[in-house]
């Protein structure tokens, strides 16, 4: 199942690349750098989706105490941090070419950075108290819930904070009305990256489940030897 999903991801990825570079028209004012848009937006979407999966896994774990919910939460958080990092990097490259600066302390950038910090703390917490212990899972679940609730609050507060100091206007990347060819490309990319996410998440969860299995076996051997 997962192998087939991997192949599907590969095919979709090839189609997306074709659509981005050969099918979608070059934007008039920004030129070729606007192509980053087709990576940047799906990456951001997947990051939010991943952290939502972490929330679902965290709530599920605290309600049931079943390990597979924790495996979902942890794996999704890890994939989410990778995608958030890529969002920040791709945004920086795009910003450098369009605004002339790697970073602007704009509301959306700042809140994405704060979100990145929250989930990096999540991963650090896991590595600090042990990945597979019950206690680590419970603490991480608490952070997974508090962190997700916090993300929109951070965004609101940063927006209010920033609107007080007028910023260099961050132009809406492609304007509210995308030409049909660009919109079609974006939708294709969103689908591709969502499939990529599902595939990565399943792979990661399989590895994490094996890790739990190994730890259980090791604990059993130690018990038997004692």
């Amino acid at each position: 199942m997962n192998t087939r999903l991997g192949w599907l991801t590969g095919i979709l990825m090839a189609c997306s690349l074709y659509a981005i570079f050969l099918y979608a028209p070059v934007e008039r004012t920004q030129g070729p750098p606007q192509k980053i848009f087709y990576f940047h937006v799906p990456l951001a979407w997947v990051a939010y989706l991943a952290f939502f999966c972490t929330l679902v896994g965290s709530v599920g774990y605290l309600r049931t105490g079943k390990t597979r919910w924790d495996v979902l939460a942890y794996s999704a958080a890890e994939v989410g941090v990778v995608f958030t990092t890529l969002v920040l990097i791709s945004g920086s490259i795009w910003g450098k070419t369009i605004w002339g600066a790697w970073w602007a302390w704009d509301a959306r950038l700042t809140s994405t950075l704060v979100m990145w910090f929250i989930y990096v703390a999540y991963l650090l917490l896991r590595s600090s108290i042990g990945r597979t212990t019950v206690r680590a899972a419970r603490y991480a679940a608490v952070l997974g819930i508090v962190g997700f609730i916090d993300v929109p609050i951070v965004h609101m507060s940063v927006t209010w904070w920033r609107t007080l100091h007028p910023q260099p206007t961050v132009a809406n990347p492609a304007g509210p009305t995308l030409p049909p060819a660009m919109l079609a490309t974006l939708v294709l990319c969103l689908v591709t990256f969502t499939v990529l996410f599902v595939w990565l998440l399943r792979e990661r969860m399989a590895v994490e489940s094996l890790r739990h299995e190994i730890e259980d076996l090791a604990a059993g051997i130690i018990e038997a030897a004692a």
């Binding site: 605290l62 704060v114 979100m115 910090f117 929250i118 703390a121 650090l124 917490l125 600090s128 108290i129 206690r135 419970r138 603490y139 679940a141 608490v142 952070l143 819930i145 508090v146 962190g147 609730i149 916090d150 609050i153 951070v154 609101m156 507060s157 940063v158 209010w160 904070w161 609107t163 007080l164 100091h165």
Partner: protein, 241 residues
Amino acid sequence: MAARPVVDAVIEKRPAHPPRASFAAQLGALLWKDLLIEWRRRELLASLIVFSLLVLLVFDFAFDLRRIEMPVAAPGILWVTFIFAGVLSFNRAFALEKDRGTWEGLLLAPVDRGAIYLAKLLAGVLFMLAVEAVSLVLFAALFDLPADVPRLAAAVAAGTLGFAAVGTLFAAIAANTRARDIFLPVLLFPVSVPVIIGAVKATGLAFGSSDSGYPWLGLILAFDAIFLAVSFAVFEFVAEE
């Protein structure tokens, strides 16, 4: 009432489930315990106040505070100081319990988990407020800063409550990690960003800073309510061994 048989009286004396104290009584007892420990040791508060004043001194050296516009800089300087002091104070509240093995005793005691959380939170808020009061008075005197005192007090108290609400929850988590002193700020700072922004803005308004536009005090209170409700709800999962 007629005379009871002896057996009944004995059972009455040793009930299977002793009646629990009310939530308020539990909360009071737990808070009193923390305050009494601090009163007998007189360690945390004194060092926290000295620490805060030193941080303010470092800021003076770093920025030469006579030369920059104080109503703009003061809120940030003060809140950085309060945040550092708060992190130290929350960490110690749980580290003390952990190191002496009294945390398990607390969990075994017939008290509500919510009461433990609220007692720790209130103790943290009280310690922070004490530190803040001393720092603010000295800061205002040293830099001759005019302030709208009621608004300043409201902004500082509201910001402290929100910061302590998440801080207490995360301190309970951080107490179980290997590097707890570093861990608490790593967990706490990003999550508490909304409260910090609001607190700095509201404090600035109390110092006569001109850029208003949003009712920051109301926003902090809203953040306080959210953080308190969520932290209170999930604390039982942290306080479980």
